[in-house]
Amino acid sequence: MAVNEHFKAFRTATKLGWQIESNWTDPLLFAVYSVIKPVAASLILVFMYLVITRGKTGTELFAYIYVGNAFYIFVGNVLFGISWVIHDDREHYEMLKYIYLSPIRIYIYLLGRGMAKLFVSAISVAIALVFGALFLKVPLGLFEIDYPYLFGALLIGLAGIIAFGIILAGVCLITARHSGGISEAIAGAFYLLCGVVFPLDVLPGWAQAIGRALPSTYWIEAMRRAALGEKIIGVSQLLGRLSEGELLLVLLGTTIGLVIFSHLFFKWAEQRARHRGLLDQRTNY
């Protein structure tokens, strides 16, 4: 299959994903919807912090928590966005079998559908960061951000999250009613174990060990370093020991491993789903 045909399939899947995400309402309401959710999620943390510190926000810990939480929006949305496609297209729209019958690669289709979620997430992250900088004294200076490091780490990190999404899509192919639960469980586990909203050091030792094995831990830390600079290095003793370059290397290594594993796992799950006739199952869940 020619590259331009892959691109055409990818573009169509992205367009379809975007339509499903956004055309349930008018653009204005959709814009309001896109703003309210991330801001409200961030404000929960802000008020938790304000209640304890009695109104003080300009600290390193606050910036650490806020920025970690903002970038985490990608994790939950992209994981759910990619894996839910299998369930939605198989059970709800009953289209999955036709996708397999058409001359496109399922990978391309999943990536395209996930792209719409990624785009919505990017807007949410940007809104949360701008809100933090403008109203909550989060020290995000436009000219202080290390943009090459930010975009490099962002791309590697997103590749890792997409790989996790593909693994979950594989799980959804061979299960009937766990799609939502599994992706939420993985996203929730990342939120807790990767130290998204607190320094990893406050977790018990066994949980720290799991957190240190997950690529998202290094990704979130790398995003914080790129956005906030050296100010936050002392907040986590554990991750503070790693330099920016070391963080990026660990992230790259674990992401490559994850991408390979996700490919092998998805192929296995797909094979199993075909053998067991699961590609067009409908269970009303």
Partner: protein
Amino acid sequence: MRASALSTNLRAIWARAYVRVVGANRELSWLFFDTFLPLLGTAAYVFIYKAMQAPPEFTGFVILGGAMTAYWMNVLWNMASQFYWEKEMGQLELFLIAPISPMAILLGMALGGMFMTTVRAGAVLILGSLIFGVKFTVQQPLMLALIFFLTMAALYGLGMLFASLFMLYGREAWHLSNLLQEPVYLLSGFYFPVRGLGFWVAAAASLIPLTLGLDGIRQLAFGGRGWGFIPPEWELAILALLSIAFISFARRALRLMEELGKREGRLTLRWQ
């Protein structure tokens, strides 16, 4: 209402509740996810307070808030959006042509949902309290039970109202339920005392029954009157009023939306 109609409606309430009471607990993986998932998020919030070296009662506040999220999720996804799912599966028209009041269906959904969720919320509360060593100092247990009961009545009354209003929605129902998660966690003070939002915002947020319910339970279960918004006695009275108001609004809204749906032919639309 004649005796036979009453008995038919009571049977309808039981039948709709039965599906939730028995059916939901048959899928054990869901029981696991519904307990495990709120615990993960709740644990993260506990660790934020630990990182901030907050007073120990805040761990209890968070665990209680985490347990109560199960009720709000149930109201959003299994009450408000329920008629959307029923429409997708072709059940809504069956409910409406059956010789019963649609309110019986809503009440059955609410009672079944309340039972199903209490099992999950209880598990989160017990496990969370054990894991993080939460200490309860319960004052006035009767008042505490009354506040909880009236919170449930008002909350599921609100759920019945939402179900009526959402009845004609297609995918909007899914998105609106999604939208009402985080903002309500924020406004109702699921993870911090609602007083922290300031008096007027907290007063406006009191229209959501969980705001006053959570605040009252926290004051009575953790001796946290210093963090309370208004006295629990007032909260009890307001919750009683909210219960009556929401259930009666739900009844009117249901009648209105059913009529509108029939006129516009939207009661049987799928894949909107």
